[in-house]
Symmetry: C2
């Protein structure tokens, strides 16, 4: 089997620890029981090799033998195509998983990332600009909440779609945006109780702490 | 072969015509030469059947035999797994296509959609909130521009990744955001000169015009 390597930053500041996107990949690899190693690039500066692997200068990327792949969503689907534990191989299970990975990243995270930028930056919560972004997030959460109240996982069973959605929602919860969404909070609790998540999170925290 | 049906709105206002996301799916189907039909749902109101197919109340969704799949990115990959014309079936070509579909939707469109909401809404371009979103788009375009200056298509050949990226960039161009990005504009020109795009766009415009 080709060796799998996840590359992330060597170090990041305190706040983003526990949310850097190599966590999504670590979690998937732990769920699948695939052996992997972790490599690092500097947090400051982006050299040509970094940009050759991740053209937007972000992390993570995964190398799988002679393939190098970036974008956490693409990495999750790549691993899903390798492991039945991450994505069913029948057409219906596969399409369910794919649609919910995109829903997590393109319907939910598209709303929550600009929202989180505003929350972080301490902008006034009275401006029409803020209200517009806050309404965008709530519009999406209002659709998601009844779905998560009715099912354990997004597809028929746990899949990489749940890794993507949990990671998107965890940040919203941390920033105080899930107070009136109990099904979303319970979903996060279910997902983050999984041993693979617990190990992946502890490993990420230890990785950054080792570089302090 | 299972019958393919794309569902979109029956009618939308003038402005979004030519950008509604069924265009991405029509374009892919035309490129692949797959026969399909188009179905409609009302623009006003979302009934239970609509939400059963697209839980966020959006369009499009695709039915492929007994599979119903939503999220334009997921539909593009679903069709890519069906047609070599849309996504190479070798592991390297497939991972390249997947990473660039996600880059288009999760790295680029995540920045351009909130930006476009602000442009549409006519907010002041002097506020720090606007500058933050505008800088986010420029940060991503500054990485994309040199890439598109050096290659014809995002993967080794035309793929669904180019459909996703072109559709994201077309909206930015229409809103005046690509003036200093000539390689992005030339990429759009290359992609939209393809007969499959020309037919898909004409068909979408005719579909909405028929409901006026």
């Amino acid at each position: 089997m080709a060796e799998l390597t996840v590359t992330t930053f060597k170090w990041v500041p305190e706040w983003p620890r526990g949310h850097v996107r190599d966590l999504r990949v670590r979690w998937a690899l732990e769920e699948a029981g695939l052996p992997y190693r972790v490599a690092s690039v500097p947090f400051e500066g982006r050299d040509a090799d970094h940009l050759a692997h991740q053209p937007f200068g972000q992390v993570p990327w995964l190398t799988d033998g002679d393939i190098s792949i970036f974008e956490s969503g693409a990495i999750l689907l790549h691993l899903g195509l390798r492991s039945e534990a991450l994505m069913p191989s029948d057409p219906r299970g596969r399409s369910q998983t794919m649609e919910w990975v995109f829903a997590a990243l393109n319907s939910m995270e598209m709303a929550t990332v600009p929202w989180s930028i505003f929350v972080f930056s301490g902008y006034s919560d009275e401006t029409p600009e803020w209200k517009r972004l806050d309404d965008f997030v709530k519009l999406r959460l209002n659709h998601l909440e009844p779905i998560l109240a009715e099912r354990e996982w997004l597809a028929d069973r746990f899949s990489v779609a749940d890794i993507a959605m949990t990671e998107v929602l965890r940040l919203v919860e941390r920033l105080g945006g899930l107070k009136v969404y109990p099904a979303c909070r319970e979903y996060i609790a279910r997902a983050t109780a999984r041993p693979a998540f617990v190990k992946a999170l502890a490993d990420q925290m230890a990785h950054f702490a080792a570089a302090d």
